[in-house]
């Protein structure tokens, strides 16, 4: 089973990808949303390993553990990231183009940054960091303060 620090390393890899894709946010906004979600997922997994000694299998189990484990704030922000990433990956209409036609209709590049990253992902980081070990905290690359 992966260790807490393994999950932190994976969170940092997603962070790196997210920041690189974010350099061309207009073009890659949905992939910034997806990598932000996977960064949050790995932070949550690291937190679970540190707090409970085990990680989760599958999206539902993870959401359920957050809900039933009393992690309401973490859950609220993580669910918003999960939802946006699901829409980025699976909502597509090549035929009718009615209503939603691209991820930018849903979340503009500017809102991906201001809402998904600066509000939701930042909140996941802030809420989870106190639940990590000292080593996990030290290793985690967080969103820059001036982001």
């Amino acid at each position: 089973m992966p260790k807490e620090t393994d999950h932190i390393s994976l969170a940092n890899k997603n962070h790196d990808a997210m920041m690189r894709l974010g350099q061309d946010l207009d073009r890659f906004s949905e992939w910034v949303a997806v990598t932000a979600f996977y960064k949050a997922l790995q932070i949550i997994e690291a937190m679970f390993v540190n707090q409970h000694g085990r990680c989760c299998f599958g999206h539902h189990q993870r959401l359920e553990k957050l809900k039933k484990g009393g992690y309401k704030e973490l859950y609220k922000h993580f669910r918003a990231l999960w939802s946006a990433a699901s829409i980025a990956r699976y909502l597509y209409d090549s035929e009718t183009r009615r209503g939603y036609s691209s991820f930018a209709d849903y979340l503009s590049a500017e809102k991906v940054k201001s809402i998904l990253l600066k509000r939701r992902l930042h909140a996941v980081e802030c809420n989870a960091v106190g639940l990590l070990s000292e080593k996990g905290r030290a290793l985690l690359i967080r969103l820059p303060a001036d982001f």
Binding site: R79, L91, E95, T96, R98, Y106, R119
Partner: protein, 160 residues
């Protein structure tokens, strides 16, 4: 070719201050409840699960009844759990809506009278039937008759 969503419609009404939910096709509804029992592996507590499932339908209807910002609402299955999928009237993300949906999802997960229910909730922007169908298991779709209540229509019918 567009994917039409085949669902069991849930009619609902207020009676003496309570929401009453009635499946339009009882035979197909029973089939879906049995499928939910299989998916959530509740065969040993089937009777209790069925009561909780019906209660869940009422709790969700209660949440939906005052919302005018939802176009369609479904209960389906996804990733081995139930999924409450709502399609909003608008195409754009709404932070407050996401928090409201998280709140009802959190309440249901922590309701001791719904302890056999495993469910996640997701809000989709206004989209075509074809696009929305990617989030629904074609063999397990319950749809609240929400459009009838608030007079809204499918995305394409209103916006094209």
């Amino acid at each position: 070719m567009t994917a039409a969503i085949t669902s069991v419609q849930l009619d609902w009404a207020m009676k003496d201050g309570l929401v009453i939910v009635t499946p339009r096709d009882q035979d197909r509804f029973i089939f879906i409840v049995r499928r939910a029992i299989e998916i959530l592996q509740q065969a040993e507590q089937a009777e209790k699960f069925e009561r909780q499932f019906n209660m869940l339908l009422r709790v969700l209807a209660e949440w939906l009844k005052d919302r005018t910002d939802i176009r369609r609402a479904f209960l389906t299955d996804r990733d081995g759990a139930l999924a409450f999928v709502v399609v909003r009237n608008s195409c754009t993300y709404d932070d407050d809506f996401e928090d409201a949906l998280s709140e009802i999802d959190f309440q249901i997960a922590n309701d001791p009278d719904l302890d056999l229910i495993k469910m996640d909730a997701i809000a989709l922007p206004s989209a075509s039937e074809s696009a929305v169908s990617a989030f629904l298991d074609p063999d397990f779709v319950l749809e609240y008759d929400h459009a009838k209540r608030n007079g809204s229509h499918l995305a394409g019918e209103q916006e094209s």
